[in-house]
Symmetry: C2
Subunit: 173 residues, 2 copies
């Protein structure tokens, strides 16, 4: 299972602190995610990683109330538009686009995903893949505290939920 | 649109005749197709091309009564089992496996797909990608006649329909 907690952060400041912890910079990705409408607690998206020229189909199930525990399956696909057309024909409705610039760091089994999300701001996901949820969360919180983050900084909403709650959402630009 | 007519043939004999027409051998594929249950006239499959180590997600819509006119979209995917798991989670039920050994020939814009289909026998698909259906069918028939094939040799059923009509279908082996 994927366990992750999302914090609202100030990118440059938190980046320095992550590096100060000794985490290793793994890479950066410019991601454009197209989400399809599914019943709640289930997510389907096609992700285009623009700078790496990769496309990934992803399916996620949210396993808790706080959007911190996920089952995720991903598979690389050759072409964004053809995958999109197939999903459209299978009856899946397009819901929202989430566009972000992601910087990834690693420290042991902990992954730091530092996201600059278009229209929404800067966020840090601290993530561990593990079976023992409580142990993983304790570890995430220990690191979060070392980074100066607290419960008030947690953002429990999904990006697509946040986007839909924006005052101007749905208006033509 | 994909226009194709399927004939029941004797593989070695028809192969010599195709070569005698001057068609060029393009390659061979060992295909294992897993079809998912969809409303009729619509097909969804994951194809594993064993000898080329390729996996292709394919969606087809049948546009006529004789199973000769198709709209098809395909996209390569990285991993068969992960694609299968995503479709399972999205609610698609697995229907049948079709396994075949395919020899492909080309002559101009005409593709010959010579299939040895497990449990079903040997078939030749003569295929043209075109917008003008009637023109394409006339051309296919001209070639079919040059190969000694007639209307009695046409097999209008899909492989999955033929498989389900076998006396022993559904019994455990």
């Amino acid at each position: 299972m994927e366990i992750e907690i999302k914090f609202r952060v100030s990118l440059n400041e938190i980046r320095k602190r992550i590096e100060a912890l000794g985490a290793e910079f793994v890479g950066e990705e410019i991601q454009e995610d197209l989400y399809f409408a599914l019943p709640s607690k289930r997510l389907l998206r096609i992700r285009r990683i623009v700078n790496l020229n990769e496309v990934i189909l992803g399916y996620k199930e949210i396993k808790d109330e706080k959007n911190e525990e996920f089952d995720e399956i991903e598979v690389k696909v050759e072409d964004f538009e053809r995958m999109r057309t197939i999903l459209n024909h299978l009856g899946f409705k397009e819901d929202v686009w989430i566009k972000k610039h992601r910087y990834v760091y690693k420290l042991g089994d902990v992954t730091f995903e530092l996201n600059q999300v278009e229209k929404l701001g800067d966020f840090l996901d601290i993530e561990i893949i593990a079976d023992n949820v409580q142990e993983a969360k304790d570890k995430i919180w220990k690191i979060a505290e070392a980074l100066g983050l607290s419960k008030e900084d947690v953002e429990p909403r999904l990006y697509q939920e946040m986007l839909k709650e924006l005052p101007k959402y749905g208006q033509k630009e």
